[in-house]
């Protein structure tokens, strides 16, 4: 069974850092959009090597959400 994990850190200024683990390809980004809402704007996205490995189990995403 595959475990999908999203780690969110809400900073004191309201911005959010997010990391994903266990997602395949771009699913991680859509999941983040689903969780954080349509208003989400990525300030910075670092795609790990795993992101490009479509068949790999793990995809690690780091996003930073800017404060509104």
């Amino acid at each position: 069974m595959n475990e999908e994990k999203i780690i969110l850190e809400i900073n004191p200024d309201g911005s959010i850092n997010a990391k994903t683990q266990g997602f395949k390809g771009e699913v991680c980004l859509t999941q983040l959009e689903e969780i954080l809402g349509e208003q989400l704007h990525f300030a910075q996205v670092k795609k790990t090597d795993e992101y490009y490995q479509q068949d790999q189990i793990k995809t690690n995403e780091t996003v930073k959400r800017s404060q509104k």
Binding site: E4, I6, E9, I10, G37
Partner: protein, 207 residues
């Protein structure tokens, strides 16, 4: 025959009288209250004696035998000449006294002026001192006002900061609630932990 003649000007001052005798060239000797001259007449040496407060000349009325001071042969001419010199001496001394008084008055005025200037200077110093104190008080009041103004500005800033923080906190709470809701709808379990100033939410789902 003898007689006493009173001069026009009373010879009150002995010093003036002696000085006048010297000026008209009549020698004298002092014998008690008498001023004995070297003018010799029928009765002998003519002399001044004190009558009350005045010196009076005692002499013989006959001028024939007069010796010494031949230019002032008669007692009248002698006394006239003596009176002129007596008055001159009197005027000289009076003038000297007047000058001394003037000098003393000048010194007194100078002293008064010096005192006046000194008082003026002290008053000015007091005034300056008062002004200095007033300016210092104003400066302190101004400083105090500025400090109060600064504290008030800081207070306002703190309140604004607090309001901003509260608003931010509300925003973060609303975001967190939204994440919880969306995560649960998507089948995630959420675990929340506080990491320093940050809130960490770990969303886990098994598929």
């Amino acid at each position: 025959m003898s007689a006493s003649v009173r001069s026009k000007t009373p010879f009150i001052n002995k010093e003036y009288l002696l000085k006048a005798l010297e000026r008209i060239g009549v020698n004298y000797t002092l014998q008690g209250d008498f001023i004995v001259t070297d003018r010799i007449d029928y009765k002998g040496a003519q002399k001044f004696f004190l009558q009350g407060r005045n010196y009076v000349l005692e002499h013989d009325s006959d001028n024939y035998f007069i010796k010494n001071s031949p230019q002032l042969k008669t007692a009248k001419s002698f006394l006239n000449a003596l009176e002129v010199e007596y008055k001159k001496e009197q005027q000289r001394v009076e003038e000297e006294i007047r000058q001394r008084k003037l000098e003393m008055e000048r010194i007194r005025q100078e002293e008064l002026e010096r005192i006046r200037q000194e008082e003026l200077r002290k008053k000015q110093e007091q005034l300056q001192d008062t002004q200095r104190k007033r300016m210092e008080e104003e400066r302190l009041a101004q400083t105090s006002y500025k400090e109060r103004e600064k504290k008030l500005a800081e207070k306002i800033k703190q309140l604004e900061e607090k309001a901003k923080q509260e608003e931010l906190q509300k925003y973060i709470e609303s975001q967190k609630e939204q994440i919880y809701k969306k995560a649960q709808e998507a089948g995630y379990k959420v675990k929340e932990t506080q990491k320093g100033e940050k809130i960490q939410l770990v969303l886990v789902r098994r598929s």
